[in-house]
């Protein structure tokens, strides 16, 4: 193979990897992860609706998307929780060469298992492991791939403070025929919040949140890169409804030459039954 052909192949594979990888990063449920290490009660049902305004850039070209994840969580027992998530994507501005349409993405199914929980008068500490994957049941699924993910979450609640550390490792767009994924990704997320009891409003709590997210992406083709978000936000919590909002300020590494993240705005509601 001569040099120009080789160069073209590497370029096209890099673009393909960036294209496939973009689906992975758009469908994650990052943001507002302040109950990560704690499994909910048995028979607890949580329905989470969100709107995310996301800006990505490839070179000087912007890509704005409106993502609307819907998450349903059920406590099978006090130790085991199942979660099903799907995301509707509406494309706003798209100045890139990528073809994007408005559609439901592949669903993601996850199980979370309580590994440790200690509740005292002074603090609560919980550790939970999880495993899940997106699976291609929709006709428009990208390359009929799966995105398996495993992780470990820890939550520490001293008094009115909350510290939640989430760690996940994802095989992005794993193709069962080719027996490889587009990228391997490490995600680390730390959320700190503090409950402020609202006097005069019984059973409502305001909780300012500060999240720090880090993602290390190792694609099969192209260079590894890192990016992250520094995300201030807040939650308003009542016994059955939780309102949450977060502004994610993107921090891209210098080695991130392909797809770059812009800032994101998240607003959401959780209903707890």
């Amino acid at each position: 193979m001569n040099q120009p052909k080789m160069k073209n192949k590497i370029l096209s594979l890099t673009l393909l990897a960036a294209f496939l990888f973009s689906f992975g990063i758009q469908t994650r449920a990052e943001g507002i992860s302040v109950d990560a290490g704690l499994t909910p009660a048995q028979d607890r049902i949580v329905v989470r609706l969100q709107y995310r305004n996301m800006l990505n850039r490839i070179g000087d070209n912007d890509m704005v998307m409106h993502m609307m994840p819907v998450v349903v969580v059920y406590g099978l027992s006090s130790d085991v929780t199942v979660m099903l998530r799907n995301v509707y994507r509406a494309v706003g501005t798209n100045e890139t060469m990528m073809e994007m349409d408005n559609r439901w993405m592949d669903p993601f199914l996850m199980g979370k298992v309580k590994l440790y929980r200690r509740n005292t008068r002074v603090y609560s500490l919980g550790v939970a492991g999880f495993a899940g994957t997106s699976f291609p049941i929709l006709n428009k699924s990208v390359s009929k791939t799966y995105s398996p993910m495993i992780g470990l979450n820890a939550s520490y609640r001293p008094g009115l403070w909350s510290f939640d550390l989430n760690n996940a490792y994802e095989w992005v767009n794993y193709n069962t025929v080719e027996n490889q994924s587009t990228a391997r990704q490490l995600q680390v997320n730390l959320a700190v919040s503090r409950n402020i009891i609202l006097t005069g409003i019984e059973n409502w709590v305001l909780a300012p949140v500060q999240e720090f997210s880090f993602v290390r992406n190792n694609p099969v083709f192209g260079e590894s890169s890192s990016f992250g978000f520094i995300s201030p936000g807040f939650q308003l919590v009542s016994p059955h409804v939780k309102f949450e909002s977060l502004y994610q300020i993107a921090v891209n590494s210098s080695g991130n030459s392909g797809l770059k993240n812009g800032n994101r705005f998240i607003v959401g509601l959780r209903f707890m039954f």
């Binding site: 909910p40 009660a41 607890r44 027992s77 929980r117 509740n119 008068r121 009115l160």
Partner: protein, 105 residues
Amino acid sequence: MSTTANSVFAASSEKPVFVSEKDTTQNSIVCYEVYGMDCPGCQSALEKQVKKIDGVADAKASFKEKQVIVELKAGANVSEEEIEKRIKKANFTPGKKIEPAKNEE
């Protein structure tokens, strides 16, 4: 929820059982310390679990007071063990049986 405590402790049984007085139509109250609740969402999760107990008329949990107040139907037999089991199913830890904290608000 009524704050009149009409329950008597049935010491003869192997497991402690709260028995509402049979000659009254009034419900009775028991209260437990509960550890692990940190928001109003935790309250509703615990209340849902405790209300599943046969003989429980109502339950009010408070993450601020770290307690759950359980209202038993008149004449209902509810074991301590059953209440503790439900607190654990909500992923919280039961503490001592206590007098309900008075809300000053």
